[in-house]
């Protein structure tokens, strides 16, 4: 599954790890994150993430 990078602060969302602090199970793809999920570091919205090449 693809990793996504926050264009604001550089945080990388890795589906293998999820975001357990905010209720996202490991194994959750970026596309499956809820629309109101925000970057756990800086609060940027989902649409500010870019696929990591």
């Amino acid at each position: 599954m693809d990793k996504y990078v926050c264009s604001v602060c550089g945080y990388v969302y890795d589906p293998a790890n999820g975001d357990p602090d905010n209720g996202i199970e490991p194994g959750t793809s970026f596309a499956d994150l809820p629309n109101d999920w925000v970057c756990p570091v800086c609060g940027a919205a989902k649409d500010e993430f870019e696929k990591q090449e």
Binding site: V8, C9, V41, C42, G43, A44, E48
Partner: protein, 396 residues
């Protein structure tokens, strides 16, 4: 220094750093200040502290109002050490068990800065706290400019304690914007260009949010420099304008040179740009500072980079500015590269790559001149400048 009363029972108790000239690579020609604020209500509240080595001076300032041991609550709007460095000493002095309120990310970040233990209390975005006659509201402002950054708003006095936002590196006894005059806008702009520019999209969102909330702001108290009291909307509107990055009819030609050849090119290019009615300025990197170059870049529509080729690559000082600019992510710019070379001449193409990565619109593949520009070379540089000048006019 004595504390300065900002409103009844609200004081500025921070310190002035007259001598700092290099703030982690940002030139602070007028020094700076580390601002902290004291509110004396039923609870006595200290908002932010100062750089570690200035802590005793801040405690002295507080003592001109009240015994610092009477402070009940400390609020940390920002973890960076020029505002939190004094926390361990302050807490040791006033009572280790007293609470330090901070944002969720502040909790995490302060814990990593001061593992010995502060009594940290997390506040959520929008949370209110009554301290007697006053109610304070906390507003998370993540990445403006650290994850932990937050504002504290005093609803009663309508004062926004804005952390690093709206700050300026300026040392002076004037305390207020109206006492300094227009010069302060230059320092505010430099601060924005060097500290906040990369977060421009977030700033626009935040200001929109603050406007939706209908916060009535009579005074803005940042963590550096003077306090905005005469017209707080002026600095807020300036932030909106800077964040939009629309660019003015202006170009800067940023270069370095070894034997004056790239310099000759830079001056002819700038003249060519100016011939189109566009403000143009050659900036020799080693006669300037990267932070001043960034300030000039903020409202320039075009940024032109010149470098000689040294040992098959970009001259190091030019790479320094390119790296710095890469981090600050200026948007909506026109770019171009030029330079003199002796044999291999890689610098121009390498710079073009950097400018493309910055998303700049490249108006010309680049101008290279072998060794020293002759009359024809100077004419080519002038024409290259004209092309850039025309592109600026067309883009606006």
């Amino acid at each position: 220094m004595k504390a300065v009363e900002l409103a009844k029972d609200v004081y500025s108790v921070g310190v002035i750093d007259w001598n700092i000239r290099d703030f982690h690579g940002y030139s602070t020609e007028r020094g700076s200040s580390y601002n902290a604020y004291l509110i004396v209500d039923e609870k006595v509240v200290l908002i932010d502290t100062v750089k570690k080595e200035f802590t005793d001076k801040m405690l002295e300032n507080i003592s001109s109002i009240i015994d610092p041991k009477r402070i009940d609550i400390v609020i940390s709007n920002h973890t960076e050490m020029d505002h939190s460095g004094g926390l361990p000493r302050v807490m040791h002095y006033i009572g280790q068990d007293k609470p330090v309120y901070c944002s969720k990310m502040g909790f995490k970040n302060l814990s990593e800065h001061f593992p010995a233990g502060l009594n940290l209390k997390e506040v959520s975005n929008g949370e209110e706290m009554n301290i007697g006659k006053r109610t304070l509201t906390f507003l998370e402002t993540r990445m403006l400019h650290w994850p932990d950054s937050m504002f504290t708003y005093d609803q009663t006095d309508k004062i926004l304690f804005s952390s690093d936002a709206f700050g300026q590196h300026y040392a002076g006894f004037e305390t207020f914007d109206d006492k300094v005059g227009d010069e302060i806008m230059h320092h505010a702009k430099k601060y924005y260009a060097n500290i906040l520019l990369l977060y421009a999209p977030l700033i626009l969102k935040l200001i929109e949010k603050v406007q939706e909330m209908g916060l009535d702001i009579k005074m803005i108290c940042p963590d550096h420099g003077i306090i905005w009291r005469s017209d707080p909307a002026k600095i807020i509107n300036a932030y909106v304008e800077w964040s939009k990055q629309e660019g003015h009819k202006k170009a800067i030609v940023v270069y370095d040179t070894m034997w004056h050849s790239t310099e000759i090119m830079a001056e002819n290019i700038a003249e060519g740009i100016a011939s189109q009615g566009v403000e143009a300025r050659p900036i020799h990197i080693r006669s300037s500072d990267r932070s001043d170059i960034m300030t000039e870049a903020l409202n320039a529509k075009a940024i032109v980079f010149g470098s000689p080729t040294l040992n098959n690559t970009i001259f190091p000082t030019v790479a320094d500015v390119l790296t710095y600019m890469k981090g600050l992510k200026p948007k909506n710019k026109i770019g171009a590269a030029f330079g003199s070379y002796g044999w291999s001449g890689e610098a121009v193409a390498e710079i073009r790559g950097h400018l493309e990565n910055l998303g700049m619109e490249i108006v010309d593949p680049g101008l290279r001149i072998h060794y020293v520009p002759d009359d024809q070379g100077r004419a080519e540089a002038y024409a290259f400048g004209q092309k850039i000048g025309k592109a600026v006019i067309d883009a606006l």
